[in-house]
């Protein structure tokens, strides 16, 4: 009996990880996103080592210098901090809190969503009504209320943001788990006598991991935005600590006198980092989508 011969003695097909990497490296926006992120991290965390500035003591004598002033390529703030240096230290807060909160939210959301989706039934319905209710109150309002009750520090801010941000990954992963649970290959495995543990760890988790990773990048982007929003509303870590959002909020006072350099550097930094994470996430989504790879391959 001859089967079709298209499966020949060619070398073994690379695994999903390798294939994802191959797709990813061909995706130019995603690569650009990754490069920008690495650059921004280096800027924020390595920059102050190369170019140390005083970001604690105010110097009103050198306040509001425009960009290009000697020693201050990006000018100074209303309290006389060097703008370039403040952009670095401010970025540290934004990135640290954003990364930590985004990852924490993804973790909590994944566990919650997976439990609801895998067990289904009444448990699922109850768990989902809770997230519905929490999602009904816009995140920013919740964040502001909580931030008003407690005084934020970096860890507290991380917790506050994560406590609100886990809701959307929870819904997403729940949907994913619900769908994966009823896939034919899970049925097939059960018919061989396999149990729930095997279903979860051999089939559901590996197939959901892509969604989780992709979602994590979006969560981090969101968390960075939340930090910025809270600081902008004056509810973040108290000065002299800074982050990009609070820098912008300082800038708003000076719009009428046209101190644009107080606004653009931190604003552009936020846009850059959020856009970079979004592109990265989009690229990862394509890379992890096996079906997409398949249709690309078989496109007529």
């Amino acid at each position: 009996m001859t089967a079709a011969g298209s499966v020949s003695a060619a070398p073994a097909t690379p695994g999903p990880g390798r294939r994802a990497l191959a797709v990813f490296t061909r995706d130019k926006p995603a690569l650009a996103g990754a490069v920008v992120l690495v650059a921004l991290m280096a800027f924020c965390f390595l920059g102050p080592l190369i170019r140390p500035t005083d970001q604690v003591h105010t110097d009103l004598g050198r306040a509001n210098l425009p960009p290009g002033s000697p020693g201050h390529p990006l000018g100074t703030t209303d309290l006389g901090y060097d703008m370039l240096g403040r952009l670095m230290t401010g970025g540290q807060t934004s990135l640290e809190v954003g990364l930590a909160a985004g990852l924490l939210a993804t973790f909590i959301g994944t566990v919650y969503g997976a439990v609801a989706g895998y067990f289904g039934g009444w448990l699922d319905a109850a768990m989902m009504r809770i997230t519905d209710a929490a999602l009904a109150i816009p995140a920013l309002f919740l964040l502001v209320v909580v931030a008003t009750i407690v005084t934020p520090s970096k860890p507290v801010l991380t917790l506050i943001i994560a406590s609100v941000a886990w809701l959307s990954p929870a819904r997403l992963i729940r949907g994913e788990a619900l769908a994966l649970r009823s896939r034919d290959y899970v049925h097939a495995m059960r018919l061989m006598g396999g149990g729930g543990t095997r279903a979860v760890f051999r089939h559901i988790v590996p197939n959901a991991i892509g969604t989780v990773i992709v979602n994590a990048t979006f969560q981090i982007a969101d968390a960075i935005l939340y930090v910025a929003y809270l600081s902008f509303l004056g509810l973040s870590i108290p000065p002299p600590a800074a982050d990009w959002g609070s820098m912008l909020s300082t800038g708003i006072t000076y719009t009428q006198v046209g101190y644009w350099w107080l606004i653009f550097p931190p604003g552009i930094a936020i846009v850059l980092v959020v856009a970079a994470f979004t592109f990265l996430g989009d690229g990862l989504r394509d890379a992890f989508d096996v079906r997409l790879q398949r249709t690309r391959r078989n496109r007529r």
Partner: protein, 316 residues
């Protein structure tokens, strides 16, 4: 459809109840608990104790919740620390203004986003599509407050086209009579929504264009323009109704920022001021109202969706 509506309404009712639970729990997290929230931070410990006993706050939590719910249902949200008014009265004053701001933004967003999305779908893969896609991504990544600041810098400070402060009139009519001052807040709030909705329209139109029924319409001799108008747009835009509901929280969060930036006297500004002054009754009152608005808003958009889509409408 009746079954769908009944189910959806019951779900919304449960969610509303849970929203009230969340706000109730937050109330109990306040420093000093609800007594401080009602009596104010300067009340003596004796007064607090007396109040707690009188109001039943020394009873079990479930009983307290029932009590709280009963008060909510009579419209009693407590009294503002700062404004010398009941929270209900302040909200009744501010809510309509926020509705004007968000309503105008939604309308503007829809008017801009749908043609842009259709244009992108029709010109898929060409320059216009790439440019608009890039712009949408940028708009996604730009926080509302940065966008607002840039708009103020450019259009108010540099070009002096529009004022940087929103209309301050007391009535809705008064606000609407100053359209120039409304431009910047409305545009700031709308732009992010435009990005999201145009992305949605683009992909929905593309999805529909690849559907078999479009091929059928072509096989009947319809022109592309009429296929778009008569067949594709309707199918692509019906789900936009429920997307609107999904975007309510984003929109309300945005109005919080925009109102505080442009000093627009709506619910968002009220909330922000309350946060600055730790005016907890107002803070929680607004939170509750915003939550209720979102739940009801998404309920209504879902109903609209069901009415618009015959596949749901005609199911008994």
């Amino acid at each position: 459809m009746i079954r769908f509506l009944a189910k959806r309404t019951a779900q919304a009712a449960v969610v509303l109840l849970l929203v009230s639970v969340i706000v109730f729990v937050l109330l109990h997290q306040l420093p000093g608990g609800p007594a401080r929230a009602i009596l104010g931070p300067k009340a003596t410990p004796q007064a607090v104790e007396h109040f707690n006993h009188q109001q039943g706050y020394d009873r079990s939590l479930p009983l307290q919740y029932v009590h709280y719910l009963r008060r909510l249902l009579t419209g009693d949200l407590g009294e503002s620390y700062k404004l010398n008014q009941t929270v209900t009265a302040v909200l009744a004053d501010r809510l309509p203004r926020t509705l004007v701001l968000t309503g105008l933004s939604i309308a503007l967003a829809a008017v801009l986003a749908v043609p842009l999305g259709v244009l992108q779908a029709v010109r898929r893969g060409r320059i216009a599509d790439h440019l608009l896609t890039g712009a949408a991504f940028l708009a996604y990544a730009t926080p509302v407050f940065f966008l607002g600041l840039v708009l103020i810098l450019v259009f108010s400070q540099r070009l002096q086209l529009f004022p940087a402060e929103a209309p301050q009139a007391d009535t809705v009519g008064g606000i609407l009579s100053d359209p120039r001052a409304l431009v910047l807040p409305v545009v700031t709030l709308a732009l992010g929504i435009v990005a999201a909705f145009s992305r949605y329209t683009r992909s929905a139109v593309l999805d529909n264009l690849s559907e078999d029924y479009v091929r059928t319409a072509r096989a009947k001799g319809q022109s592309n323009a009429r296929i778009m108008a008569r067949h594709v747009l309707r199918n692509a835009l019906i789900p936009l109704a429920s997307l609107l509901g999904l975007y309510l929280p984003t929109l309300l969060s945005g109005s919080l920022v925009v109102e505080s930036m442009f000093n627009y006297p709506g619910m968002g500004l009220l909330f922000w001021n309350a946060a600055q002054g730790s005016d907890f009754p107002v803070l929680l009152g607004v939170t509750l109202v915003v939550g209720v608005a979102t739940v009801l808003g998404s309920l209504f958009t879902d109903i609209a969706y069901a009415v618009l889509d015959p596949r749901i409408r005609s199911v008994p």
